[in-house]
Symmetry: C2
């Protein structure tokens, strides 16, 4: 327990709040693994049940429709974790995870993880918070499908903007998100995104520069969505 040098597991969000002694004890139940860029970490429908904690690198979670179309994804980086769902309910994995860059992860078996939850209520609560967030995000998604395509795209843009604010009413997305990307997340097609962007650009709400997308007026974008939504 060296005070100046924090334990490596201290970077894991779920373990925030544990002291070094507790982390050392937890570490006994983990194994470290390295993945090369492009390698698959877990595969959809696998029935492995380990939980993973990312020490370094960047991974990508994807879900494919049965037709093979990519439906949604998010990126994971150091400090984040994944695989809790299968550990908790024993069901097969709900998504693919592949390494985007070389990455180091630490993993724990389902039963060791569940035991850790019992021993350390703070971890359990951290997982609860994580799942709660997920539930709310998913619900939002479900609601959104009641909306028309343009509204959904606007919402997705607003979500992207939220994480890249630049002042209070503007955001810069760099690198520019690919249209096909956005489209697939809200379950529509590239062309729809392209057309909407043109419209928004004409109104000065967004601006496309080299390799970046600037949302000049977040308020106006939200208003645009609201107005589309209400009248039809």
């Amino acid at each position: 327990m060296e005070p100046g040098r924090p334990h490596p597991l201290a970077t894991v969000d779920l373990f925030r709040g544990l002291d070094t002694a507790q982390l050392q004890e937890l570490e006994r139940y983990t194994r470290t693994r390295a993945f090369k860029a492009g390698q698959t970490v877990v595969e959809y429908q696998d029935d492995s049940h380990d939980v993973f904690f990312i020490l370094s690198g960047k991974l990508k979670v994807t879900i494919f429709s049965e037709a093979g179309r990519e439906i949604a994804f998010r990126e994971l980086t150091a400090g984040q974790s994944f695989g809790e769902l299968s550990a908790i309910d024993g069901q097969p994995r709900s998504a693919n995870v592949i390494a985007l860059t070389d990455a180091t992860v630490v993993l724990m078996t389902a039963s060791d993880f569940m035991a850790a939850l019992k021993r350390h209520p703070d971890i359990a609560i951290a997982v609860l918070k994580k799942l709660t967030l997920l539930v709310r995000a998913l619900s939002e998604r479900v609601h959104e499908f009641a909306e028309k395509v343009e509204v959904r795209i606007c919402h997705e843009l607003l979500r992207l903007a939220r994480d890249a604010m630049l002042g209070t009413n503007a955001a810069r997305l760099r690198p520019a998100p690919k249209h096909a990307e956005i489209a697939s997340r809200v379950n529509t097609h590239r062309e729809a995104v392209s057309r909407l962007f043109s419209k928004l650009a004409r109104q000065g709400i967004v601006q496309r520069g080299q390799g970046e997308l600037v949302i000049r007026d977040v308020q106006a974008l939200a208003a645009y969505a609201r107005q589309l939504h209400s009248h039809g």
Copy 2:
């Protein structure tokens, strides 16, 4: 602690696994409330954060789109609980809950609930399992919106069938679910459901009797959905 007479809180699913002494201790943090049929228990966007445990009666959870259209719902009965999300993350309520029948519930403040989670890891794990189930159900929903209307309706039918199986390949839904009901859950219109039912009835897959709906061949229904899905 009378051995023959179980504690009233023992009926609550989340408290499965606690002994009578622990239940008595928990009870000190609860208040009991009675609701009359039709009364609102929690309202969407409220910022109350209590957790509710149903002792008796039937409640209904609904979510409305901003346009006021009912999007989805589920029913809750004795033993189930609700309100955990707001207690865990402190955000406003994610849905409306109204009493369908007269009902008795027990409630706990958010902070008492969180404290209980810390003291009783089994409760925390029960909540984790519940949320995990929810996440999986919601993900399934999100995926489904990539499908065409008919496929979505078939899937909804299959879900209904799952809870009302009659042998291995048939199910009886009684009372018959209303078409408008099913339609709103998969985000479409009464007419679409009506038309699909006619088609399925012509193929002998389902059968409409007085006040009930019989799914004669669940396999065939699943196959029908799969085939629609793959060719277009």
